[in-house]
Every structure is written in C-alpha cells, then in structure tokens.
C-alpha cells in the first residue's frame, strides 16, 4: 500500500442487488487521503452502482460504507455532501434552467445554510452569506475557465462545458472526496489531455481525493495511483496501472479490447 494513513473512504463487502440481479457483490475498496483511485470495468460491471451506493441513492443490501472512519451506510442522500463527498454524473445532472452561477450557488447549499425568513426578508446574515457564496463561485468559475458562461442558462451550453460546470459545482462544496463518473466522456484527444492536467491540478490545489470511473484508458492509466477492476459486480483485480494492465483476469474481461 502506498499510503500508510487511515483510509478516507472504505467499502467493506458492499453488495447491491436489483430483484434477482446482482449488480455489486462483496466489494472491498479503499481510497486514502490524497489518492486518485480508478474504478474500471466493461459496461454493466456495476461501477455507477457503486457511486450510487456511496451517494446513498441506493441502499446496499449488504456491506458497509465508511467515510473518515464513520459509517454512512444509512444516512440520507442529502447529507452525503455535508460529510465531504461530492460527485459528478455520467450523463450530467445539472439544474438545467439555471445559469452557471446559480448552479454553483446551489452547489454551496450544504456549506452555506439559510432559512426561509432570512431569505424572504433579506436579512443581513442572508445577504452576507449570499455575497460570500457568489465570490467563492466566481473563484471556481475562473479556475475552470467558465467565467464567460457565468450568466448563461446551462441547458444551452455544449455538453463538454456542461461537464465542466458539473465538476465546478462539485468542487464548490469544498469536498474531501470527489466521485467523478466518466469525466472524459465525449471529449476529443486534446480536451482529454487538458482534463487530465486539470484533475491533477485540482487534487493538488484542493487537497481532495478522487474516485474515478472512466472508460478512456489513457486517462485512467495516466491519473490513477491505484486501479480496481470490476466485472459482473465483482472485483477481479486491484493494483497499480502496470499491475492491472498485465493481469490475466483483466485481459480476459476486456477480451478483444486493448487495455
């Protein structure tokens, strides 16, 4: 193991079933502070299901999820971000009618609390929080080169920009762990290279750990210290990029695909 400290995120025997279909079976996985861990596998291997269990959209039928040593298998979905876990989605889940800035303000919902009366009467406390939230959102926008889209409604933005807005929205909550679901989907070679650099930079700058689901092997191999491979919901291999690449079970699972 590269990191001697306690894991930030730990999955113990995570199991998820839909009806009779086993989506994830007895999965053990840990992400240590500062790490970028890759989760790969063929389509339908259960990668997104793992994310949805961590985000608490699904309640696993077995196993445990620990974050920072605290169990979070039973907390409601909206408390996940309060614990310090933010995520992006494979097909982008933005608030489509809002502007980019407003999406980043919603992204701070958990970190900048407020109440109906304070909001409606525009009390000084609410105004102060609002001003702070806008300033922080603008900082993140600038960092991700999104400032030109600040007041544009996101539904009209190109897919690649929407993905970046979503990344910004995750970052704006100051997470300690980022779950990125296929951040490079739909990007060309040039954009992919840029994205890889960006993710590395964000890890440094925000001191955030990352769990990454990605189909683009160049991205995964280039970014991750450790990779876990899922096939039919089971972990068939785990190790450094080099180890995983030469693992016979992985080659079999990806039969025909170049790893």
């Amino acid at each position: 193991m590269s990191a001697p400290s306690a894991p930030l995120l730990e999955l113990r025997g995570l199991t998820m079933r839909f009806g009779g279909l086993v989506a994830v079976l007895d999965l053990d996985l840990a992400v240590y502070p500062g790490e970028i861990v890759g989760l790969i596998g063929p389509n339908g291997a259960g990668k997104t299901t793992v994310f949805n269990c961590i985000s608490r959209f699904y309640t696993p039928v077995g196993g445990e999820i620990l974050f920072d040593g605290q169990p979070m298998t039973r907390i409601p979905a909206y408390q996940v971000v309060r614990r310090g876990i933010a995520r992006t989605f494979q097909n982008v889940e933005l608030c489509r009618s809002m502007t980019t800035l407003d999406n980043l303000l919603v992204g701070q919902h958990a970190t900048k609390p407020g109440g109906l009366l304070g909001d409606g009467l525009r009390l000084p406390g609410a105004r102060r929080r609002e001003a702070k939230a806008v300033a922080w959102a603008e900082e993140i926008l600038a960092l991700l080169d999104l400032t030109p889209y600040r007041d544009r409604v996101v539904a009209g933005l190109p897919f690649g920009v929407q993905k970046r807005v979503e990344l910004a929205r995750a970052l704006v909550s100051r997470p300690r762990l980022l779950l990125l679901d296929e951040p490079a989907a739909g990007a060309d070679t040039h954009e992919t290279a840029e994205l890889t650099g960006l993710i590395r930079r964000l890890r440094e700058q925000f001191d955030v750990s990352i769990l990454l689901v990605e189909h683009d092997m160049a991205v995964v191999m280039g970014l991750c210290q450790r990779i876990a491979v899922l096939d039919f919901g089971r972990k068939i291999a785990e190790g450094t990029p080099a180890e995983v690449r030469s693992h016979p079970a992985v080659i079999e699972a990806y039969l025909g695909e170049k790893v």
């Binding site: 949805n52 959209f57 097909n91 889940e93």
Partner: protein, 300 residues
Amino acid sequence: MAWLTTLPWGQLIINGIALGSLYALTAFGIVLIYKTTDVLTFGQGELAMFSAFIAFTLLDRLKLPFPVAFVLTLVFALGLGAVVERVLMRRAQQGSILNSIIVTIGLALVLVGMAGFIWGYEVRPFPDPVTGPPFLFRVSPTQNLVLTQLSAVILAVTLVLMLLLFAFFRFSLVGIAMRAVAQNRVAARLMGIPVDRINALGWGVGAALGAVTGMLIAPTNSLFPNMMGDVAIKAYAGAVLGGITSLPGAVVGGLLLGIIDSVAGFQAPELRTTIAFTLLVIVLVIRPAGLLGRREIKKV
C-alpha cells in the same frame, strides 16, 4: 362501532360495485392514454360526456336505431381523440409533463363549455340501452338484493373490456408497440415503430372508450354537460389507486372506490368524497405507485 353490524352490507356492496364499474370503465380510457402517451389526461370525463351528446343527437334528432348510433359515436370519438393528439398533445408534449396535464385540463373546460353552448345546461333523460325488471337475489325471507339490468350490463362490459384490452396489450403487435412507445420513445422510434401514429391511436382508442363510458353512464346519471364531474374524479382516483398503468388495477381501484363511496355515502353522505380521498392518500403513502403499479427508479 355498533353501526358496523347494522349496515345493510350486501346491498351497499352491490350498489358499490355498480357505481365502481362506472368508475372503472371511465378509468380505462385514462389508463390507456397514460400507458401509450405518458400523459395523465383530465379530459376523459368530458370526452365521454361530449360523445354521449353526439349519441343523443343521433338517436333523438336523427332517429337512428341504437346500434347504428352507437357505432357512429365510436367512430366520431376515435376521430376526435386522434385530432386532439395531432393538434394539441403532440405540441404540448414537447415541453414538461406539466404542460400536457394543463392542456388536458384546458380541453376539459372547452368541451364542457361547448356542450353547454350547443345543447344547453338542462338535464335530459338518455335512452336506456336495456329495459326490463332488475335482478333480485333472495338472501333471506325478508330481504332481497337488487341489481338493475343496466348496472349488470355495465359491469359485464367493464370486465369484457378489461380482458380485451389486457389481451390487446399482451398479444397484439400494435398493443406491444404501444407499450414500447410508453417505455422509451426514442428506442421505439429507432426500432421503426411509428411513434406519432401510435400516440394518435392511443388517444383515438382512449376517446372511443370514453364514448362507450358516456353512453352507458348517461342513462344512469342523465345527460348534461357536468354529468361526468363526480364520476370522472372518482375514475382518476380509481386509476391512480390501481396504479395508473395497470388495467386490472383500474378495475380493482374503481370497484374499491365504488364500494367506499357506497358505504360512506350511506353512513356520512356529506363526507363521501373526503372519506374516499383520505383512504386514497393513506394507500398511496404506503404504496406510492398504487395497488398494482410498479415503482419507477430513476437511472443516474
């Protein structure tokens, strides 16, 4: 709770089933339209009422025999439904689900207003398709249970239609295509299913079911623009209670509501609707997708 044992349960349940089959019958059109086009229509009762007025005109003004008027009304309703889909719904469905619901509410208002304008607001009798003495069931020397012939016909039509529609969706190619369209519009289109035509058909058949409903309910409730008001609302409740996509669910939900209505109406007539909806809310909180419906999980 002494009143529980003193109620004339047998007759109340028979009345409830007779009433509930009206609800179930109306619910079929709602379920069919929801199944094929994913729209909850609030215009079904009004489509039924309007069709009943057409039938009335054919029977009363043109003196056509009942079977001819019946078939012509069905054809009219089929066309009306298809036109509604083509002109209104196809465009409305490009927006959010709310848009479609609102357009059907608008449709209901326009149909009621037009019926009032054309035929007026007075309450008219509608010819009974069946005549004859009611069925009597002797349960004790002093007590008979009564079921009118019309109620028996309505119940029979409801059950036959349920079986026919069920078989249609299960076995016929068009029915399977309708289900496919409701499941996933894009995939269905890619598979070569003519989605627009299927939607128009869904509305056409839904309206025709409404016409059958209207012609069977008008003899009981008489004919006037608001004749479907309470029935339509209970039919929505029945459809939703049963699970909105399930035809057997519509029958179960409709009959259940009929029985609740009948018992509650006997015990506390002024709170009939309140009691029905309170029970509905309780059921939905326990089973949010209705009695026979399946819960949908959104994929992310």
